[in-house]
Amino acid sequence: MTEKDTPDLTDFRRDVRDFIDRVADDEIREAGRKTTSFFPPFEPTMRWHRLLHAQGWSAPAWPLEYGGPGWPVAQQKAFEEECRAAQMPPLLPQALSMVGPAIMRFGTDAQKAAHLPGILSGENFWTQGYSEPNAGSDLASLSCRAERRGDQYVINGSKTWTTYAHHADRMFLLVRTQPGGKPQQGISFFLLDDLDRPGLTIRPIIGLDGLPEQCDVFFDDVEVPLDSCLGEENDGWSVAKYLLEHERGGSSSFAAHFRQELAFIRRIAAETGDGFGGALGDDPVFQQRFSQLALEVAMVDATEVKFAALDKGSPESGPMSSMIKITAMETLQRINELAIDTVGTPALTLQIDALMVGSETPPMGSPDTLTAMPKYLNNRAATIFGGSSEIQRNIIAKTLLAP
């Protein structure tokens, strides 16, 4: 990055803050405060997405040619930081950060034209169909299959952990189009532009926090057009891997997010007693745990800045995306654990009604403490989804220990 690539970020940051002040309505702000996982409340977040799009800011990491703002990394980071500091809901990653970049890389001109504008604008929302009941860590063993019948593919099988499928109008998924051979061969990457199809059933799954976030999706002779394939037929694994690297390493600005969580813990600790008449924030054990996490976040920050400058698909980007995934997700889990320990037993109160955007039910006690437990529970999934921490370590080991 050269000097002239970097605009005056102080002015830019002020512009972002002004924009948020002017445009974000109460419901969007409430959705930001009530976000308890990587997946914020759907409707207000998509409205925020569309408002950002009107400003040309919905996809900070997208290149200019696809409608991104063409910002250098430092500016993207400044943007994320301002949005986080204002507690805006993070935009949903499935379309913008996952299938979007894959379509740019592998899509035909027709596919780009058909899908990218709706992703950028927030008109469409995509769910990810990767995992299956028997294909989790071992994703390549997937068995949901698509057969050519005339001028259609016919899909049979099921997908699980499809986040927000009950809100989605589009879906990208991996299907087996050719049996036999190595498991990675014969997989195709499909783009479905309509989920309202005969034979397709979506069933929400209730999570540990008592709310639906994930879904099962069942396919019973679902017909889709032949041009649904992204990339070559039977070579969907290449697309899938490229996308996973984005999911793991480049989907969002983790450091900005985590610093916001730490700020929230710091505020609670200042208001909470230590049981002996002092403030918890003055307790050396609390301070040690907190500062250790600040160190981990600084490392996440440094590594993700480096990753952002890498060409995705280069040999080092795979292992580095795995490293970010491990470091960031394990750090987040420790942050969430410190949060419930800081809040103490008030974190045990189940407050499903108060967590709904637009709810008339006020939170019990300080509103700051409302989300601590749902985040702790929901983010246990962070070391499982997108490839478990164990699988990420295997990926790194393969490169690190290669003869």
Binding site: S131, N134, A135, G136, S137, D138, S141, T160, W161, I205, I206, G207, L208, D209, G210, Q214, T272, G273, D274, G275, F276, G277, L280, D283, V285, F286, R289, Q333, E337, I340, D341, G344, T345, P346, A347, L348, T349, L350, Q351, M364, G365, M373, Y376, L377, R380, A381, T383, I384, F385, S388, S389, E390, R393
Partner: protein
């Protein structure tokens, strides 16, 4: 450690096992969690008939003549079955505060009803700023012409929405975190000025914030000699800590069993995932965490279970150790189950949430490690 005969204890364990087998499948437990009361009053009556509500009380008070140590087999089994009946709150916390009261008349008026399942007293001790230290009490007890007036707010009062009486800690003298100058009053829930803001907890239990506004009580409702409620309260909470240690062990051993069984059947990469060394080591670490906690628990109970209180350093280390093991085993059970462990449908997540709650109740690991340092340095 126990005042009951080995035969009696074995009989109790068998009766608990049989009851839970017959009435407490995971689905049956979920139905209780979803019910308005949040437990089964019919089960509670059976607990009374089976003698379980009388285990740690003297025969003279209609009890079985045991101690808190004699409830631990039951609590461990309750942990395995995710029992939601208010045994910890009523028999443990409130029951121990009443049983060791110096006020014989008040004790005699309450214990038989508790043991018969007719009244459900609970203990309100925790406050917003107390962080597991029972001596930290802002709630005031001011002397009036007729007795006392109580003002203050208690948080996370276990089982309060189900209770008939609340035992409240209030300060009549001393500084904010002094053990001296504390009173424990027994207050009927329908007393004017008592407000209960009940809620479900993430682990499917019930608790409440309880506010006391100009609540009038008499000295006859006080469990302790003036200003001496602190020791009685600590004794009740230490009993609660032993009981949740047993419950947590029950939940932890169940989670380890379930995790081993799952990894032996779940196949990825053409083999059961239990065949992968990284997962084998993880399960061994879970086993080590469980076994060390269990051994510390058994030793603490054997050495101190029959005494009036477990010495503070030992009690603090036990609660810290149980809290840490509960976290580790709960988290790793989810990790090794993968996505399915994150669902409401599977029982694993519910054990995880119960263990999360038990690790926070009565102060978490950090709180108790601090307590250990203070107690072992004579403070």
């Amino acid at each position: 450690m126990s005042s009951l005969s080995a035969e009696m204890r074995a009989m109790l364990d068998d009766s608990v096992d049989k009851f839970l087998r017959d009435h407490y499948s995971f689905d049956a437990g979920r139905r209780l969690v979803e019910s308005t009361a949040g437990y089964s009053p019919a089960h509670w009556q059976q607990f009374a008939e089976l003698g379980w509500l009388g285990i740690p009380f003297a025969e003279a008070d209609d009890g079985l003549g045991g101690t808190v140590a004699d409830t631990l087999g039951l609590m461990r089994r309750f942990g395995r079955a995710l029992v939601v009946e208010p045994y910890l709150g009523v028999v443990g916390l409130a029951g121990q505060a009443i049983a060791h009261s110096s006020h014989a008349q008040l004790k005699a008026s309450l214990l038989p009803g508790l043991i018969a399942g007719e009244i459900l007293p609970v203990l309100a001790w925790e406050e917003m700023q107390s962080r597991g230290n029972p001596a930290y009490v802002e709630t005031r007890a001011q002397a009036t012409a007729e007795g006392w007036r109580i003002d203050g707010e208690k948080i996370t009062v276990l089982n309060a929405p189900q209770a008939t009486h609340v035992i409240v800690s209030a300060r009549s003298a001393g500084e904010i975190a002094d053990n001296a100058g504390m009173e424990l009053f027994v207050v009927a829930m329908d007393t004017p000025g008592v407000t209960v803001e009940g809620f479900e907890t993430v682990d499917g239990h019930r608790a409440a914030r309880v506010r006391f506004e100009a609540v009038a009580v008499t000295t006859a409702q006080r469990l302790n000699a003036e200003g001496a409620g602190g020791a009685l309260l600590q004794r009740a909470i230490d009993a609660g800590c032993l009981m949740i240690a047993a419950e947590a062990l029950g939940a932890m051993e169940t989670l380890l069993d379930k995790t081993i069984a799952y990894t032996q059947t779940r196949k990825q990469f053409g083999m059961p995932i239990a065949g992968f060394q990284v997962l084998q080591h993880r399960m061994v670490d879970m086993y080590i965490a469980l076994t060390n906690a269990e051994n510390l628990f058994e030793q603490t109970v054997a050495e101190h279970g029959d005494k009036a209180t477990v010495p503070a350093p030992a009690a603090a280390l036990l609660k810290a150790g149980i809290s840490q093991s509960a976290r580790y085993i709960g988290q790793q059970a989810i990790q090794l189950h993968g996505g399915i462990g994150m669902t409401d449908e599977l029982d694993v997540g519910h054990y995880f949430k119960r263990l999360t709650a038990l690790s926070l109740l009565f102060g978490g690991a950090d709180t108790h490690l601090k307590r250990y340092w203070r107690a072992s340095s004579g403070r």
